[in-house]
Symmetry: C2
């Protein structure tokens, strides 16, 4: 019923905006892991979840978890979730949209008595801002939050374990946060945070995989010298070497389908106009859905950097700061989601996610799928971040078709099980 | 007499090192215009000058001026000088060497009763550190220090006029600082501050001209975007545009004889590894002895920057911060200096100065010439800045030959004058 979906879409956006009023910094949206405004967010979601017929609790890492139980006996559990925390000065939809969508789906679906229960999880931490460590919420649910991590401290010297205590929770209960064994699938809605869907005029993206990623730091060391008195052939210009590398990064990535490679940071020392830069530090961020393609890019680009440095008598030091394999999502669920969008009457495109999401952490543990909603202007991590009501409507309609497609499969499984 | 010159060279270096102990910052050499340690420097030089038979005073801009009067009646005046101030954390020779050389020349020469007087000037300000305005000392001597300049303030809000008062001087006396009308030539010794002489194994450089210079700021403005979710073809990467420009600057200058062009500053915003840079600000410093060559380089390189920006949907804003024409030194004096080096038995090479010097300010007013001494390691503006004793010896021997070559010319002039 389009009328209903339209109302829901408006309501979903309004709920996200209401959540956004709870912030550490008045006038902007900043809500880090287990900071005071998270209590209000939990209270609000708790209220909406209970009204939708869910039983609600907060687990030991601070994830808010609402469970709607199917009236069908021994029904398996579908998990729908995304995260509650934000980057500093964020928008109103990154993360929270997926949680509010989950609650709305329960509100819509429960009358139909589907053959599965639904657990909606608002993950406490995904952005990695407070403790420079991302995915704390989903790692705990996946059972992969190692105890050492709890000793990490924030900028005020507070450890994760202390933050948990201070919030009124007990890290000793972390084992109970692990995903229930009856969970059979994970579904996450998220804004695209990129310009692809908008550039193609499409509401929805079906995520096939989350890209693998390499982050490096390159240090070019030449000699700082007088810009006026040092002829070109006697220079060891770290800036020129680094610039040649930056240009090559862009050219290489442009020439290789699906690859993104970025130098976003370049720090020159001494960094003044009349002195040849003696030292330049750059970042390198390379992502691709195929790990071999990514590794080949890293090899090729570091070789180019070495050549650019050597030719100028500049030394190069490389440091790998992050290396993360690509995570494929469940092919069957992804195909089902694609079909659901088509049946709901919305064109969608298969795509890879260039950013990390909670689904990346859960996918190795439970069959997972993700639906992207178009990001107007490609904007994200920005106060102007938005989502269009018609795209929320499309996502909701697709979700309902998806769940309808899931239901007979589950009934079949149950039949099979009972025959076994 | 090589023995004497060798002793003098050792003494000159020792005197420079003694001056270097007077600093604003203990443990390093930092001596800005009219700061307290300048009093001790003046006192020391005053003492050496008086011992050499000179009458000494400090002019209204803080230049220390010692005059040795020739016993020949109505003898014209040779001016020898360089500066007393330093950059922060400087070496012991930039500037001061030329002043100490001048005093030593008087000590050596006065017994020979040459047909010219010698004024040694220790310019109070050349580096432009304290008031972000260079050449205050020589501008006053050239009569080109405009009154508005005196209102400039340092980082503590003290104006140049106040700094002069605080030092015990009176800006009202600035007109008396202007070069005497009987001055016929200006000679400046200075370390090269570059690697050319060392790379060719030569002690001395004869400066034919000081390069013209253009300094610009370029602002590339694209769009900051997520490094993972923004495909290459939808980027407006300010860093990539700037990097293409940096590479072109190096290539263009390398291909054009005598041109130096440098991007020493590059500031990226937001400047983090996983965000495409939305905004990059770079410097451009271009120098050449021929103004047309320099202007053509500015045109070509700004055009390249525009193309690199436009191709990426990045806007470019240009700002010219400094534009200074090349300053030729006096061809006759320069030829004489070259001949003097040869007669003293030292190979020298004609060259242009890539840096500005007090001679640049005086050259339009009085025939001027400069002698460069090799800079070990090309180092300058650095605590390890040095000068080799044998190069000081060579410079001193060259100076004595130069003054010997000057003397008959002056006698001829005087003969001519007396016949007129």
């Amino acid at each position: 019923m389009p009328g209903t979906n339209k109302d829901c879409a408006t309501c979903i956006i309004a709920r996200c905006r209401e959540i956004a009023t709870h912030t550490e910094v008045p006038g902007e949206i900043t809500r880090r892991f287990l900071t005071p405004p998270m209590h209000a967010v939990h209270a609000l979601l708790h209220q909406w979840m209970e009204a939708a017929g869910m039983t609600v609790h907060t687990d030991a890492i601070g994830n808010l978890r609402g469970l709607w139980l199917s009236p069908v006996a021994n029904a398996p559990r579908l998990v729908i979730g995304s995260h509650l925390d934000t980057v500093p000065n964020a928008g109103a939809f990154d993360g929270i949209l997926g949680v509010v969508m989950g609650i709305t789906i329960v509100e819509e679906l429960r009358e139909r008595q589907p053959p599965f229960s639904i657990e909606v999880i608002g993950f406490s931490e995904e952005e990695g801002v407070r403790f420079s460590k991302a995915f704390l919420g989903s790692l705990a649910v996946a059972g992969k939050l190692d105890p050492e991590t709890l000793q990490r401290t924030d900028q005020d010297g507070v450890s994760i374990a202390e933050a948990i205590y201070n919030y009124g929770l007990d890290p000793a209960n972390l084992p109970a946060a692990v995903l229930s064994r009856d969970a059979f699938a994970y579904l996450e809605f998220h804004i695209e945070q990129g310009p692809i869907l908008e550039s193609e005029g499409i509401s929805l993206g079906i995520v096939e995989a989350l890209v693998g990623q390499t982050r490096m730091q390159l240090l070019f060391e030449g000699h700082a010298n007088h810009a006026g008195t040092t002829p070109m052939h006697l220079r060891h210009d770290a800036m020129a070497a680094a610039a040649e590398f930056v240009v090559a990064v862009e050219a290489y990535a442009t020439a290789h389908e699906g690859l993104v490679a970025t130098v976003g940071k370049l720090e020159a020392s001494p960094g003044v106009g009349n002195v040849i830069a003696g030292r330049v530090k750059t970042s390198l961020d390379i992502r691709h859905a195929d790990d071999n393609t990514r590794r080949a890019a890293v090899d090729a680009l570091t070789q180019i950097a070495k050549t650019a440095a050597t030719r100028r008598g500049v030394t190069l030091t490389l440091r790998t700061e992050m290396e993360q394999s690509a995570v494929p999502l469940d092919p069957h669920l992804t195909t089902l989601l694609h079909r659901a969008a088509a049946q709901a009457g919305y064109p969608s495109r298969r795509m890879t996610s260039g950013a990390g999401h909670d689904a990346m952490i859960l996918a190795p543990t439970i069959p997972s799928t993700m639906l992207f909603l178009r990001s107007p202007g490609g904007l994200s991590h920005h106060p102007d971040e938005a989502v269009l009501p018609q795209d929320v409507e499309a996502a909701l309609a697709t979700a309902m078709e998806f769940l309808a497609l899931l239901s007979p499969e589950l009934s079949d499984d149950k039949t099979k099980d009972s025959h076994a």
